[in-house]
């Protein structure tokens, strides 16, 4: 019991996730800067940002709902942490796992997006209102392709549990290469979930100041940013566990290093996407997700169904 509590709180639980998210943000910003031919921030920049924001004054608008205003960052952080506890990182089983936990993790990762939208709604300010509407519109666009892409490999494995999916692919040799299309779709929609360019219309700095977070200052904003960074790591770990199911053997150090390399690689891909595209408008994003991403994910599902019916009898 004590061991479980320690695992949840320290390693590989909350503290490990917080540290990894800071490192992840540093890596993302450094790669982004280097690709733009400039020096990036130093290694302690995310920590410095967090501490600085904690020290700022907390201002809540008069019209806003105080209780919900203060509670939403907490809900965002806790739902991401809970999702992370159920993803297998370097062992085939996560700290707590049960049958059907892929769907559970996907749903828990949707909750932060809802809190961003509610944050804008309860701020009762014009920019925040538009931001909150945009967050929901974006949610409706990328959720379906994301779910379809992440669940495509599970069709072959006939199960919605992480452990069984990883066992299946480990036994099947190089069968995981079949899911390449879904991997690409998952990376693109993950960018949408994290609200980064080209899908950062809800938080477009040049149009609506800061979107739903316009009225958030100081410590509450620090926790929202922490939730966003942790969401990056959790999303990257999810994609790594489902699409790159290797490195789950028995040597701890070896698996740990492979896990770090996998997450780094996915964050690198996300940073490259962030660099080379401009921001899409709401209607363009809607048509892009529904006209291109959803059919491509459907194609992958079709391929998997055919393979399962024809090959794996």
């Amino acid at each position: 019991m004590i061991l479980l509590l320690l695992k949840i709180l320290v390693f590989p639980g909350i503290l490990f996730l917080v540290v990894l998210s800071m490192i992840g943000e540093y890596f993302d910003r450094k790669v982004y800067a280097k690709m733009q031919n400039r020096m990036g921030p130093p290694w302690f920049q995310p920590v410095a940002d967090f501490i600085k924001l904690l020290a700022k004054e907390l201002i809540i608008p008069k019209n806003a709902d105080r209780k919900i205003f203060k509670a939403l960052p907490l809900v965002a952080c806790s739902s991401v942490i809970i999702a992370y506890l159920y993803i297998p990182l370097w062992r085939k089983e996560s700290i707590m796992s049960f049958n059907g936990d892929i769907i559970f993790v996907l749903y828990m990762l949707t909750i932060p997006t809802l809190t961003y939208s509610l944050a804008g709604w309860y701020s009762r300010s014009q920019y925040a209102l538009i931001g909150s509407m945009r967050v929901l519109t974006q949610l409706f666009s990328y959720e379906v392709p994301l779910f379809m892409a992440v669940l495509a490999p599970t069709i072959l494995a006939s199960s919605w549990s992480f452990t069984e999916v990883i066992n299946f692919y480990n036994a099947g040799g190089s069968l995981w290469l079949v899911n390449f299309i879904a991997f690409a779709v998952a990376i693109v929609t993950l960018q949408g979930k994290l609200e980064k360019v080209p899908f950062d219309i809800p938080e477009a700095e040049t149009e609506i100041v800061a979107g739903s977070f316009t009225e958030y200052t100081g410590p509450l904003f620090a926790y929202f940013r922490l939730a966003m960074n942790m969401q990056t790591i959790a999303g990257a770990s999810l994609v790594a566990a489902v699409f790159l199911p290797f490195g789950y053997g028995s040597f701890f150090i070896f698996n740990f290093i492979i896990y770090i390399i996998k997450v780094t690689f996915i964050i690198f891909l996300l940073a490259v996407i962030r660099t080379i595209f401009a921001r899409l408008r709401t209607d363009q994003m809607l048509s892009f997700c529904w006209k291109y991403l959803a059919p491509i994910a459907l194609v992958q599902i079709l391929i998997n169904v055919i393979i399962k019916a024809a090959v794996l009898k």
Binding site: V31, A33, K34, M35, N37, R38, M39, T275, I276
Partner: protein, 116 residues
């Protein structure tokens, strides 16, 4: 217009391996060439007190005061000076010169009135 996705990909990936174009000032400073319009320098031996520089200054930033017979000193208000070098041109006796000193920011307002 032929449309391509991610046109800047090649350039950005190759920038990962190049030296960055920015430098971390103030630990690394670039060379400023010598004709940059910085603070002016005053050669008091050549000044005759004609006050042409005072009259032509667009910002009323420079003042010449007489401290003794045929001896003058110049006071420059750094917060008013617009670094246009009009005073240098107006002086027919060569008593004012350009330097390229530009790091003149300070936190104390009283330090902005300097005696040249």
């Amino acid at each position: 217009m032929s449309k391509k996705l991610g046109k800047m990909l090649a350039e950005t990936i190759s920038s990962l391996f190049k030296k960055p174009a920015t430098s971390s000032y103030p630990f690394e400073k670039r060379e400023i060439h010598k004709h940059y319009n910085g603070k002016v320098a005053y050669i008091k031996e050549k000044c005759v007190g004609c006050n042409m520089c005072v009259r032509n200054c667009p910002a009323k930033a420079i003042f010449i005061t007489k401290i003794a017979d045929k001896q003058f000193e110049a006071t420059l208000h750094l917060d008013r000076c617009i670094f246009c070098s009009q005073c240098v041109i107006s002086c027919k006796f060569g008593a004012l010169k350009n330097t390229n000193e530009f790091e003149l920011a300070t936190g104390d307002k009283s330090k902005l009135v300097v005696k040249l």
